[in-house]
């Protein structure tokens, strides 16, 4: 998959693949089961072709589900997807909490 990391505007931190998956899931979640590809694309700031690869991967992992509505696919987050988001944000926070100490102590807590 083409998953080139980019910069996170808010923190200046490099956006890793997991950040992008989380972004996509958060955008899909906001549509409450009616997320269309184009809308998710604008919300996540990701071109549709690249987004499709992310959606397929998230579907394969059971973090998203899809159904056809009016002949077009719509997406929704699954309980596993929500679990991923909960863990992701908590882990991000811990990384941030532990980060400065780790640098200050040259790797020692």
């Amino acid at each position: 998959m083409n998953g080139t990391p980019s910069r996170n505007g808010a923190t200046g931190r490099r956006r890793e693949l997991t950040d992008l998956y989380a972004t996509v899931l958060e955008v899909v979640k906001r549509y409450h089961g009616a997320a269309r590809v184009t809308r998710v694309s604008y919300g996540a700031g990701m071109p549709v072709d690249r987004l499709r690869a992310f959606l397929e991967r998230l579907l394969a992992l059971g973090l998203l589900r899809t159904e056809e509505v009016d002949g077009r696919p719509v997406y929704d987050i699954t309980p596993r997807g929500q679990e991923f988001l909960d863990t992701y944000w908590k882990m991000r926070a811990y990384v941030e909490i532990l980060g400065p100490t780790e640098r200050a102590g040259r790797g020692r807590p």
């Binding site: 808010a10 989380a22 972004t23 899931l25 958060e26 955008v27 899909v28 979640k29 906001r30 549509y31 184009t38 809308r39 998710v40 694309s41 604008y42 919300g43 996540a44 700031g45 988001l85 909960d86 992701y88 944000w89 908590k90 991000r92 926070a93 811990y94 941030e96 909490i97």
Partner: protein, 405 residues
């Protein structure tokens, strides 16, 4: 009636249109005073209006539309693969735009739904605001439900519910029901909230007040705060006084002022309170530090207690190898194996094997095997284990001396 058309790339001066108006790609309307369209206004591609526009409904397709003035749409704004910029105020029934919506003036609609980003330079009033990406507002936002998938950067708010996927910041106000944020939440002015649930990091300004707070990583309050239940996975800090019903912190809780909790307090690591700590039950895995701590129920500390004026509880338990500075007071006090404490006061005081204390004062005292104390004062019974030793002879009195707290 056939729709009036502004042809591709053309520019027309218009004031009033009876019926529908279609502006083709790169069409420009030079507005004569105020453009009033009695029917639908449809923009097919890039379109620009030099002044205020009023219409029954607005449809945008495949391109950005700019209105240099106010925009009043009596029914709905609907945009597909398009964005809308309004340099004045916007008033509409509902607004649904795929890409970007930018409004410089006040914005009012029943609902705003934007796929990409919504930027507002002034106030916004709506029933529902839903943005896939980023929501930025410079003025007060009054709404029932607000959702953003990516981020929300808001001024003062008056909402029922706020849900943001990534980062959210507000300049105080009120969120009556709930705030749910995936990543990080910040309020830079006092906030009143029903509940606050944040996956990562959350900080609120001094004077904030609300119900339950649940934060996965770190929670901080810049000053005094009132809450229901405070549940934090990692670190909690309150740079003032904290008042709540219950506390559950996985790591460390640091309170610069005093802490008053009606129900149980459970801290996995340490709790440090600059002033006094008043609570019901307390369970601390590591360290408790406070000027004084008074618990009406049970207090269990696994590691270290450090107080200036003392720790008092109905039932007080110190763990194995625990250490305490400052007096310990309880109705029923039990000091763990190999623990080292200073003065202990209680109706019933028990030192487990090999524990050490400076002074023990109690109605009924039991010193386990190998314990060492400087002195024992008791009024009822004294039990001594094997090799239990008091450096001065135990003293039995009619009435115990007053306990320090």
């Amino acid at each position: 009636m056939e729709a009036r058309r502004v042809r591709k790339g053309a520019s027309e001066r218009l004031g009033a249109v009876d019926g529908d108006l279609v502006v083709e790609h790169n069409g420009r309307v030079d507005v004569d005073g105020r453009l009033v369209v009695s029917g639908e206004l449809r923009c097919e591609g890039t379109a620009e209006f030099s002044g205020a526009v009023e219409c029954r409904s607005l449809r945008l397709e495949d391109g950005p539309t700019t209105v240099r003035g106010d925009l009043l749409v009596r029914d709905r704004v609907e945009g597909h693969d398009s964005s809308l910029e309004v340099t004045g105020a916007l008033s509409a029934g509902t607004v649904d735009v795929d890409r970007r919506l930018r409004i410089s003036g006040a914005a009012k609609a029943e609902g705003f739904e934007v796929g990409g980003s919504l930027e507002g330079g002034s106030t916004m009033t709506a029933d529902r605001v839903a943005v896939g990406g980023r929501l930025v507002l410079a003025g007060k936002l009054v709404a029932r439900n607000v959702e953003a998938g990516g981020a929300a950067d808001l001024a003062e708010v008056e909402l029922d519910k706020l849900e943001v996927g990534g980062l959210a910041s507000v300049r105080g106000g009120a969120v009556r029901s709930s705030i749910e944020v995936g990543g990080r939440f910040r309020s830079t002015a006092p906030l009143v909230f029903g509940s606050l649930e944040v996956g990562g990091l959350a900080s609120v300004a001094a004077g904030s007040k609300g119900g339950d707070v649940e934060v996965g990583g770190k929670f901080s309050a810049d000053g005094d705060i009132i809450f229901g239940k405070l549940e934090v996975g990692g670190l909690g800090s309150i740079a003032g006084n904290g008042t709540g019903q219950r506390v559950e912190v996985g790591g460390k809780l640091d309170v610069q002022g005093s802490l008053k909790i009606d129900g149980p307090t459970e801290v996995g690591g340490s709790i440090v309170v600059g002033g006094s700590f008043d609570g019901a039950d307390l369970e601390v895995g590591g360290r408790l530090e406070a000027r004084r701590a008074v618990l009406t129920g049970k207090a269990e500390v696994g590691g270290r207690v450090a107080t200036r004026e003392g720790l008092k509880a109905g039932e007080l338990r110190l763990g194995r190898k625990a250490e305490a500075t400052g007096p310990l007071v309880g109705r029923d006090v039990r000091i763990g194996v190999k623990a080292k404490v200073e003065d202990v006061f209680g109706q019933r005081v028990e030192l487990d094997d090999l524990a050490e204390a400076r002074r023990v004062v109690g109605e009924h005292v039991r010193l386990g095997d190998g314990t060492t104390v400087d002195s024992v004062v008791y009024s009822g019974t004294l039990e001594l284990g094997r090799n239990a030793r008091s450096r001065t002879a135990p003293q039995k009195v009619e009435t115990l001396p007053a306990f320090p707290i």
